[in-house]
Assembly symmetry: C3
Homo-oligomer: 195 residues x 3
Amino acid sequence: MASVIVAAACIFLSCSASVAHGRRFVRSSSYDKPCKEMRLYLHDILYDYSNSTANSTSAAAAKPTALATAVPSTGGTFFGQVVVFNDPMTEGRALPPSLEETAVRAQGVYLYNSKEAFNAWFAFSIVFNSTGRRGTLNLMGADIIAEKTRDISVVGGTGDFFMSRGVATLRTDAFEGFTYFRLQMDIKLYECYVV
Amino acid sequence: MASVIVAAACIFLSCSASVAHGRRFVRSSSYDKPCKEMRLYLHDILYDYSNSTANSTSAAAAKPTALATAVPSTGGTFFGQVVVFNDPMTEGRALPPSLEETAVRAQGVYLYNSKEAFNAWFAFSIVFNSTGRRGTLNLMGADIIAEKTRDISVVGGTGDFFMSRGVATLRTDAFEGFTYFRLQMDIKLYECYVV
Amino acid sequence: MASVIVAAACIFLSCSASVAHGRRFVRSSSYDKPCKEMRLYLHDILYDYSNSTANSTSAAAAKPTALATAVPSTGGTFFGQVVVFNDPMTEGRALPPSLEETAVRAQGVYLYNSKEAFNAWFAFSIVFNSTGRRGTLNLMGADIIAEKTRDISVVGGTGDFFMSRGVATLRTDAFEGFTYFRLQMDIKLYECYVV
């Protein structure tokens, strides 16, 4: 009966809904009203941090040597460089006490794809592993670093984020040479299966 | 008329449907009732199998040498290693007679993204090429190897799997050192365009 | 009121719609009637073009040397080769006057994944940056080069292509050894948020 009411309401409220095993499909009725949203910070510690890889959270694929040595051959923008990462994510800006054990991690790959300027492309999963949130969100998209903010797609999800879709807005929140950068991610889901 | 009945039925059965060129959109009404499901096994034969690449179905990107040599610099978990694969998939566990010609193949990339333990991330297509099934499913997600099962997203499809979405549950079914592993994939689609 | 009419109409016209902040969700009612479609040509200039990388629009990941040197170890099909690209896209076949500044670009990665024949896999974003169109489409899928046409998935979008999904049909339109190839992409979106 609840689903009938939901469906009927949706016709008038311009959303759409169906019930799946206790979860109900919801399509947001407005950009400003995502069915779920959160702000997270991604911390990426490059592999040559402090001239050591002890604290690094990312590594260049197949060539784990200092990024600096790549400069001459790529003109300083690392065109062609593929970087694998497993970065802690936090709700505040501060680095977590432990880089390995965090409730939220971003796991995947980014690559530098311009000869003219720093420009990147991302494909990764956000892995949630706490009592409050369990599951993953899967994202991909162009990180046009020259733009103040840039949008990438949330293309799917699992667990608490079962089948979700949406958009994540990226903003460079800190950039410390080749040692560390922090990305602010405003994640807004517009298709959810809510409990 | 059929579509009207389908749409009307969906309001009460908590699914949603529309008709597309003989195909009808169906959103599953329950986790337990995907609109399509299948179990497949992925066979990955690493490039240093039998100290030879004759039978390999995968290759380390840009550095096709023995994985073993990567151990010292990555601490044994291959952090940063990107592997391109073109793996046969089967409905049963047995390796197919021919590794090159199979009706179902997984084509794409996985990478190792942890310094602490074996942990992977996948992005790939399942390519179906038989009289019964033709088309592709596109998947991506975190393969948290430490978990007994882990879910990744089916983010799209083509051909017989036109515009599908869903979840695939991965389980390590066999793991033989650096020579072979077999993944069981339970694929459940929750958004389908059915005939 | 408009949304009610749209929703009511959709029940009979076999599409589904909801209104989001001035945008309305539309699911196509037929393969032949995508909610948005376009034809674009992707121009990929390999990194060893004219024995120089001056005009290249792509680069082998982590090993920016001539592709030719990779031939012996991969049997000529570049199995395992990952290529990062940032390619101009055009509405006509002709190369754009400037390779760097175009209104439409494809940014991402492709890889060669067969030992037997040329076979590729793509994951990338199409970045639109003109007064008429702004935003991105995100795509992934198997590029089975042996097939005359092959379909990959549009898994998401941003900006003018907010939350879009669909299918892109690829066709090799030109192939000049290891120096240049041109792909025709017929992009059809079946889930749109239209203004």
